[in-house]
C-alpha cells in the first residue's frame, strides 16, 4: 500500500514517512519514547503512527531516558526493532551507559548469539532559539563508542533513505536529526522504501579548488557558502558526511587529493569533535595532498549559550566563507 507518487516533504515529514513505511513492512518495528504516542512527538516526527499501528507498536514511556535506551536493548535482544526517540539530544546523556555498555556490545559479548537491532533517534543542534539543553550537538561522544553507528541526515531524501537503513541495520544506530532544518525546505520524495547506504559520504557539489566537509544543518550553510565562493571564482566541493561512523574517509580523501584544501564545518564544540577525526585521517593518509592547513569552522568550546547569544556561537555562512578563502589564499601566498 505504499504510494509511489512523489510527495513534497520536509525533513521531519520524511522521518515520519520512513517510520511508517518500515512499520508497515516489518512487524517487528516498534516506536517508543516520551510523547511519541497520542502527541506524535514534540516535533511531530511520529505523528499519526499511534493511530495507524496502535498502542502495542507505538507507546509512550515513563519519563526516563536510561529506561528508554535500556528497554530498547532488552526488546531488541528479543528480535524486536525498537526505534526509540530521545526528545532532545541534550537529554541523551542518561542513555550513554546502555548504549556504550550494552547495545553496542551485546553481539560481541555473546559471540553473535544476541544482537541489538535498535535505533535511537534524537533531534539535535541549535539555531531555533530553544531553551537551555535543547540545542546540543554531542555526536563526537557517541562516534567514539565502538560498535555504534552514528548517522545524521541533512535533507528530506537522505533522512528517508538513511532512516530506513538505520532501522534495517541489524546493529545499533544513533540517528541524529538536525532540528534546525526539520522544516527548512521540502523535497519531492517517493515512498518506495529505497534505502541509502550507511557507509558513504554524499558529494553534494563538485569543485576543484577546495573541499568543504560537513553534516547536519551546517550542510545548507555550507552549500550557501559554496555558491558564494563560486562567485569569487573558487570552486568548492561539498561533502555531506551523513554517516559519521563508520566514516567514509575515501570519498573525503579523493576530494582532498583533487582540491588540495579542506575545511571541515560542524556546529558542535571544536575540540575533540568529529572534525578532529576527519582532519587526523587526512593528516595520516593524505598529508601531501594538502596545499594549505586543514581548517575547522566549528562551535566554540563553550556550552551553547542561551538563545539571545546563540548566533555568536553558531558557525555562520560568513565564517565558512572566511575560512575557505583564507585556506585558498594560503596556497596563493605560499606558491
Amino acid at each position: 500500500m505504499t504510494t509511489i507518487l512523489p510527495l513534497q516533504k520536509t525533513l521531519v515529514e520524511a522521518v515520519n514517512l520512513a517510520l511508517s513505511h518500515e512499520m508497515r513492512r516489518d512487524e517487528s518495528v516498534v516506536i517508543l519514547g516520551e510523547d511519541v504516542g497520542v502527541n506524535g512527538g514534540v516535533f511531530r516526527a511520529t505523528e499519526g503512527l499511534r493511530e495507524e499501528f496502535g498502542v502495542r507498536r507505538v507507546f509512550d514511556t515513563p519519563l526516563a531516558e536510561a529506561l528508554i535506551a535500556g528497554i530498547a536493548v532488552g526488546m531488541s535482544t528479543q528480535g524486536l526493532k525498537p526505534v526509540a526517540e530521545i526528545q532532545f539530544m541534550g537529554f541523551i546523556f542518561a542513555t550513554v551507559e546502555h548504549i556504550a555498555c550494552h547495545a553496542s556490545r551485546m553481539r560481541n559479548r555473546t559471540r553473535g548469539r544476541l544482537h541489538c537491532p535498535l535505533v535511537i533517534r534524537a533531534p539535535y543542534g541549535g539555531g531555533i532559539h530553544a531553551p537551555e539543553h535543547h540545542s546540543e550537538s554531542t555526536e563526537a561522544m557517541f562516534a567514539h563508542i565502538p560498535g555504534l553507528r552514528v548517522v545524521i541526515p541533512s535533507s528530506p531524501k537522505r533522512a528517508y533513505g538513511l532512516l530506513l537503513s538505520a532501522i534495517r541495520n541489524p546493529d545499533p544506530v544513533l540517528f541524529l536529526e538536525p532540528k534546525r532544518i526539520y522544516r527548512a525546505s521540502k523535497q519531492a520524495l517517493i515512498d518506495d522504501g529505497e534505502s541509502l547506504p550507511l557507509d558513504v559520504c554524499f558529494t553534494l557539489r563538485e569543485g576543484s579548488d577546495i573541499t568543504l566537509v560537513t553534516w547536519g544543518a551546517m550542510v545548507n550553510d555550507t552549500l550557501k557558502a559554496a555558491d558564494q565562493l563560486q562567485q569569487n571564482g573558487i570552486g568548492a566541493e561539498v561533502i555531506d558526511v551523513a554517516t559519521i561512523k563508520p566514516l567514509d574517509i575515501e570519498t573525503i580523501l579523493c576530494s582532498v587529493e583533487k582540491t588540495g584544501r579542506c575545511v571541515i564545518i560542524h556546529e558542535a564544540a571544536r575540540s575533540f569533535g568529529v572534525g578532529a577525526e576527519i582532519s587526523a585521517q587526512i593528516a595520516e593518509r593524505g598529508l601531501f595532498y594538502l596545499k594549505a592547513p586543514i581548517a575547522r569552522v566549528t562551535g566554540y568550546d563553550t556550552p551553547m549559550p542561551y538563545y539571545k547569544n546563540e548566533d555568536h556561537y553558531m558557525p555562520s555562512v560568513q565564517d565558512i566563507l572566511d575560512s575557505a578563502e583564507q585556506t585558498f589564499d594560503f596556497v596563493r601566498k605560499a606558491s
Partner: protein
C-alpha cells in the same frame, strides 16, 4: 479527576493478597496520609492550623498567588508576541509554589524546577530575572540581589533533586540548621534522579524536603503511564522516609505540610516527600498544544477546583475580601509586572565575551584564541552595520 486512558497495556496497582499461614508473617506496614483544610467548595475541614486563622497571612498568600498568575499571563503574552522564548506556565500550580515559598526560611536552599515562579519570587528572585531566563539570557540566573545560594531553574528533569541531596549533605556535614528544598513534577518521579537521591536522603537522614507537583501530566503523558503507584507519596516508602499527600490546590494544606516537613528536617529528624495534587491548567509550555491530548472535560473539572478561586471564596466568605480589594490588588500587581517587563525589555544585551568569561574562573590559555575569534567577528559585524550602506 478522571484521567484519560492511553494504554491497552493495562495496569492494576492492587497488591496481590496472599494467604498467610505459619510460614508467613507481615514484615512491615506503611500508610500514606492526605491533608486538605479547604475543600473544593472552600469549606473548612476540621480545624484550621493556628497560623491560618490570621487572615492577614492568608491575604499575603492570596496576593502572591494573584501576582504569580498575572505575571504568568504576561509572560505568555510576551512569548506570543515574539518578545520572549518558550515559557512554561504555572497556571493552576500557584498554591504549591506560594505555600512552599513562605514555608522556607531565607537561609534554606531551593533547588527548583521550572514552575516555581512563586517560590522564586518569594525568595527574592525578580520577575525580570525570570523573564530574562526564558528570554534566553544567562543573567536571569544570576540573582545579584536574590537568594544567592539557590540553584537556578533546572531543565534536565529531576537532576535538581540529586543536587538538593548534595546540598543537604553539605548542610549535614557542617551541622547547619538549614534545609535543602527541591521540587519536581509527577513525570520527574520516573527518573533515577528522583529515586536515587530520595534513597540517599533516607540513608543519611538528610535535612531535605522533596515536593512533587503532581499536575497529572508530563507534557502529553498522563500519570497512569508514568506509574502504577496509587500515590506518588508512597514512593517515599522505597526510601524508608515519610511520604504524604496534600491537596495542592489548598494553600493552607500546602503551607502547613511544607512547614512541618521543613522544620522536621531542620530539627534533624530527616527528609520528607510531599506530593501536592493539582492539575496543569495550561499547555505544557508555549511550544505545546494540549488540545492534542488533553480531554476538555478533565480541564473543565480542574478549573472548578483551582487554588486561587478557592482561597478567594474563603476570604470572601469570611467577609475579608471584596471586589474593590480585588481590583486594587490587580492593578497593583499589573503595575509591578509592567515595571518588570519594562526592565526586562530594556536590559542591554550581554557582551559577546560573556560566552567565554563565565565558563571557568580563569579562562584557560587554550581558549583565548577562540575568544579572540569571536571578538574579532563581532567587531567586523559591528563595523559592517555602522558603515552606511552603499
Amino acid at each position: 479527576m478522571a484521567l484519560p486512558k492511553q494504554s491497552s497495556l493495562p495496569h492494576s496497582s492492587a497488591l496481590h493478597t496472599q494467604q498467610q499461614g505459619m510460614h508467613q508473617h507481615t514484615a512491615a506496614e506503611f500508610s500514606v496520609s492526605y491533608t486538605q483544610y479547604l475543600d473544593s467548595q472552600s469549606r473548612v475541614k476540621g480545624q484550621l492550623p493556628d497560623w491560618a486563622q490570621d487572615l492577614d497571612v492568608l491575604e499575603k498568600f492570596y496576593r502572591m498567588m494573584t501576582l504569580t498568575r498575572l505575571f504568568d499571563k504576561k509572560a505568555i503574552a510576551l512569548q506570543r508576541t515574539g518578545q520572549m522564548g518558550t515559557y512554561p506556565s504555572c497556571l493552576g500550580q500557584e498554591a504549591i509554589a506560594t505555600g512552599l515559598g513562605y514555608a522556607m526560611q531565607a537561609t534554606d536552599v531551593l533547588a527548583p524546577y521550572y514552575r516555581d515562579q512563586a517560590t522564586q519570587l518569594i525568595r527574592g528572585v525578580k520577575m525580570e530575572e525570570i523573564l530574562l531566563y526564558w528570554g534566553g539570557d544567562e543573567r536571569g540566573s544570576e540573582y545579584p540581589s536574590g537568594p544567592s545560594q539557590d540553584l537556578p531553574i533546572c531543565v534536565p528533569i529531576a537532576t535538581q533533586i540529586t543536587h538538593a541531596a548534595g546540598i543537604a549533605t553539605a548542610m549535614k556535614i557542617r551541622h547547619e540548621k538549614r534545609v535543602a528544598v527541591t521540587t519536581c513534577g509527577d513525570g520527574a518521579t520516573s527518573r533515577g534522579d528522583f529515586y536515587e537521591p530520595l534513597n540517599l536522603a533516607g540513608a543519611w537522614q538528610l535535612p531535605m524536603v522533596i515536593l512533587v507537583n503532581n499536575n497529572q501530566w508530563a507534557i502529553s503523558v498522563p500519570l497512569e503511564i508514568q506509574t502504577a503507584s496509587q500515590t506518588i507519596a508512597q514512593k517515599a516508602i522505597a526510601a524508608g522516609i515519610p511520604g504524604e499527600q496534600v491537596d495542592g490546590n489548598d494553600i493552607i494544606a500546602v503551607y502547613e505540610r511544607c512547614h512541618q516537613a521543613i522544620e522536621r528536617a531542620r530539627s534533624g529528624k530527616g527528609p520528607t516527600l510531599i506530593e501536592a495534587i493539582t492539575y496543569r491548567l495550561c499547555d505544557h509550555t508555549t511550544a505545546d498544544d494540549a488540545t492534542r491530548y488533553r480531554p476538555p472535560e478533565a480541564l473543565n473539572q480542574a478549573w472548578k477546583i483551582e487554588p486561587i478561586k478557592r482561597l478567594q471564596t474563603y476570604l470572601h466568605n469570611e467577609g475579608y475580601w471584596n471586589e474593590a480589594k480585588e481590583q486594587a490588588l490587580i492593578s497593583d500587581c499589573e503595575k509591578k509586572i509592567n515595571q518588570a517587563v519594562e526592565s526586562y525589555l530594556s536590559t542591554p544585551r550581554q557582551s559577546e565575551q560573556d560566552l567565554f568569561d563565565f565558563l571557568f574562573e580563569e579562562t584557560p590559555h587554550a581558549m583565548l584564541e577562540q575568544r579572540q575569534h569571536l571578538l574579532d567577528k563581532v567587531a567586523v559585524q559591528k563595523t559592517a552595520t555602522q558603515r552606511p550602506s552603499k
